[in-house]
């Protein structure tokens, strides 16, 4: 199994290295769909230039990376391309190993169910064969590495590739049951961009499930483990933030990074919902809608955890997707991470509604982004509404992609099948 993965990595690196050498790299690195004010490489370079001029990079409103990133690239400036390619490979390998682990568990569960004869006859088609499951990790890695979104994001040197790597490592360490590493990587991801905070709950659920500790508020072992995990998570987060403080000698980065993410002052167009909404918002409602939109990301965590407490991996997937849709400065790199998980649920595709329509919409939107951008910004023959309409459609199309695997009540399948699938096969 290592050989195909190695081949895949070589192909992916070759594509990226070739694109770095072409003039496309410059073109891509200025696309607003690929880079956002938060993670554009141009702004990282600007931050380093400011640091060279003895000016705090956070004194202006151009640089919004965390201090760790700026110190990372302070040393890796000349190896930036390699760093980003490595980050992509790391993500793919981590996802590959994580999904492999997860599949082992699913397979074990399936075997127990079969032996206990709990599976109704009309659900047999949902049972996955070992061959099928064998290829799923490779498919996941392939979905991540060869996804055009990941490739353009890497070629643009968008730092969301690094965030994806951290999240992938977090998933891997969670699957392996290493609570400490999981908490550290989660803290790192949260430190980079607040939103992965919501992944704390599914990780905890998974780790509890793995240790056979029931989720029960009356049980002391549950509380003990939860507090232990939260302590590790918050502790490492605190360490990271204090480290940043000692690196820079000031707390300037807190408003410049987290304030910037939460208050959305930069309305540069992107594929998300925020920019045009807040450009057109009436000033006295701005704070209210800002709260509504930001809470939207965190709001679903608790009910989803209650509903899907038996399926924490699926919950992780849903949370990542929700973050990608509802975060304030989304880029296509964020999309590529949750899209990589789609092969894991490929046995449920038959229950997806409108999957053809949704894929077509996503493809058409991806093609229309540059076209309408050109018409608005360069040709002047269209206005901002054209681009806005496409971002809107893109967001609408993403909702079923992340939710459909869970909405299995398609009319074709009998309700018995749905019940069974829902309870068992996530």
């Amino acid at each position: 199994m290592a050989a195909p993965l190695a081949l895949l990595l070589i192909v992916a690196v070759t594509i990226r290295a070739a694109l770095f050498r072409t003039s496309l790299a410059n073109l891509i690195s200025e696309r607003v769909e690929v880079v956002s004010p938060l993670n554009a490489w141009k702004r990282v370079v600007e931050g380093l230039a400011l640091l060279d001029l003895d000016i705090s990079p956070y004194s202006g409103d151009v640089f919004h990376e965390t201090p760790m990133v700026i110190y990372l690239f302070h040393f890796l400036m000349d190896y930036a391309e390699i760093t980003f390619m490595l980050a992509d490979c790391l993500t793919a390998v981590a996802l590959y190993l994580a999904v492999k682990d997860y599949n082992k568990q699913v397979f074990r569960k399936q075997k127990f169910a079969l032996e206990a004869d709990r599976i109704p006859m009309d659900c047999l088609e949902l049972i996955r064969s070992p061959t099928e499951m064998y290829y799923i990790p490779l498919k996941v890695a392939m979905f991540y590495l060869l996804n055009p979104f990941t490739i353009v994001s890497c070629v643009a040197k968008c730092t969301c590739g690094l965030n994806n790597a951290v999240i992938a490592l977090f998933i891997l360490s969670t699957m392996r049951g290493s609570a400490l590493l999981s908490a550290i990587f989660l803290a790192l991801a949260t430190y980079q961009s607040i939103y992965p905070l919501t992944l704390c709950v599914p990780a905890l659920l998974y780790l509890l499930q793995r240790l056979y500790i029931p989720v029960n508020v009356r049980r002391s072992s549950f509380w003990f483990y939860t507090l232990q995990y939260l302590f590790m998570f918050l502790g490492s987060l605190l360490v990271l933030i204090c480290l940043s403080f000692f690196l820079l000698g000031s707390w300037d980065f807190l408003p410049a990074v987290y304030g910037f993410i939460l208050s959305v002052p930069d309305l540069t167009p992107n594929i998300g919902l925020f920019w045009y909404f807040f450009a057109e918002m009436f000033d006295h409602f701005r704070l209210f809608f800002l709260c509504v939109f930001q809470i939207n990301v965190f709001f679903y965590t608790l009910p989803l955890s209650i509903k899907l407490k038996e399926h924490p991996v699926f919950l992780i997937f849903m949370q990542i997707a929700l973050i990608a849709i509802f975060k304030s400065y989304p880029t296509v790199g964020d999309l590529s991470l949750y899209m990589a998980f789609l092969p894991v649920w490929n046995h449920l595709y038959r229950f997806l509604r409108n999957i053809f329509l949704v894929s077509c919409v996503l493809l058409a939107c991806s093609a229309l982004f540059p076209v309408l951008w050109h018409l608005w910004i360069y040709a002047g023959s269209a206005n901002s509404n054209f681009y806005y309409a496409i971002t809107l459609l893109f967001s609408v199309a993403q909702v079923p992609v992340c939710l459909s695997p869970s909405l299995l009540s398609s009319r074709e399948s009998s309700s018995k099948t749905a019940l069974f699938t829902h309870s068992l096969l996530f």
Partner: protein, 613 residues
Amino acid sequence: IANSYNRPTLIQLQNTREEEEEQQTTAQQEEQTKRWEATELEEEHVHDAAVPPLAGDPPAADPPSPPPSKDDFQEELVIRPLHSGDIYASFQFRTVWDADFMGDQKVSHYRLFPKSLGQVITKFSVRELHISFTQGYWRTMQWGQPYLPSPPGAELWVWFQDTVTDVDGTWKELTNVLSGIFCASLNFIDSTNTVQPSASFKPLGIGNVTDHSFLRYATLPREIVCTENLTPWKKLLPCGSKAGLSVLLKSEKLFHSTFHSQAVHVRPVCQDPQCRTTSMELRQTLNVVFDLHTSGQGKREWSLFKMFSRTLTEACPLASSSKVYVDVTDNPQGEQFELSPATPLLTQAVVLGDRRTYSVYDLTQQASFGSSRSLNMLLRWKMLRPLLHSERYVAGYGLQAGEIHTLIYNHHPYRAFPVLLLSAVPWYLRLYIHTLTVSSKGKDNRPSYIHYQPSKDRERPHLLEMLLQLPPNSVTEVTVEFERALLKWTEYTPDPNHGFYVGSSVISALVPSVVAMDTNSTLDRPLFSSFFPCKEEASYFMRVYTEPLLVNLPTPDFSMPYNVICLTCTVVAVGYGSLYNLLTRTFQVDEPSPGLAKRIANVIRRFRGVPLL
């Protein structure tokens, strides 16, 4: 009088001793490059000899058969910059025909001479006819004398031949006919505004008539001159408005002027110096004064295209001579302004008691048109070259990113000096300081001091200050890239597509001085020389402001905030709805419900007491 008037007004200077002296004293260098025009007498000789040879004309323009009587056509344009800054352009078109209108034989074969006018002259036995249409008043105090004066409105004066018996009746008929020819209200001329001057209006052609009963003079001061008068006037020209100088006569520009006058003069002239036979001369003149100050953004530069919105491409093929004269008297050494294309031909003429120098363009020579096959004379005033000046502009296209270029010129031939450059750029143009490049003479020129303060959104602008060393005689280019921000819709000005202004950059410099500066501040000095304190003798302080920039930003659609709020909230609601659906839906196994027929059958069976289906 008539003979002397008819003589060429241009006086040739080539062979006279005094002019040679003048050339030697004034224009030693010009002499090698410029030459004086050939003698006019030779041209006269050519006229007398035979059919005018049309040098450089295509063969198609030659007359198909030699006409029975000789005729000749000349065209000429004089451009004179006036002291007020206006430009005076004077066209003259002269047709001379060796035909005897006054004799008994009927003239019926017309070539260059307009038939409509010839027939009128014959029918009404006109000896001389002078008609002018003028819009505006010639301001002699500001403009000096025109070559051909005329009163505002319409003026008509006619000398009839002594064979005419009923002069008043013929006059009345003539005015009506001319009214038709020139589309003017000359039919309003009647006995109430006609006079017979006794001394002022002598005939300008040959013939020493003293009986002023054959003279009639009338003016219509109210006459408005416009396109409908110009078109028939142009129709009298042999080339119409198709070729030659007359292509410049487009009404949209001619009537957009301070003064416009067009005239037709018909008179008999001598054919040869001995005046044995007479010919008929038709002079059509058009004088126009352009106010290029108001229409040309206050610049004194002019060009043919700016004045007439046309350029010259060829001479009229029927013309024996076609020339453009530009008055360059005020520019003897060429230090005031320059004419382009330059012409080596110069001529001098005494006109109105003043000797003036003219550059001559001969349109019959193909060389005058150059390689572009079109002649657009333009005059540029020589620029002053200050030691330090600067330019600034925005480069790039589209509304996403751009580049600010600042060019700083050091015109000092051998001294380098430092300057301080300060730019304050608003926050909505996000500068990238790592893209800052400074180069002079193609080499990187590192600023020795940079102070940069990045902007804060909606709080403070960018501040960039640097100390640059300007090499002698060089251009230093400072470029920095920026990105345009999308603002909230309430942050735009009421006219957002006009663009946003970026204030001037400030360049402060200590410029090396040629003369020693006065450093004694206690001395009583004039106010204008004592504003900037002077610390050293060898240099003086100077401040230069660049142009402000006008930058366009991308704009949202201002008309639809409600639509955007509704649509975006709908998408969020779709997401919320889907999740709510997922969270609240429960799954349970349910038996399929029986059909309607079965249910009815079961009701009946229940009544009957039979087991249900």
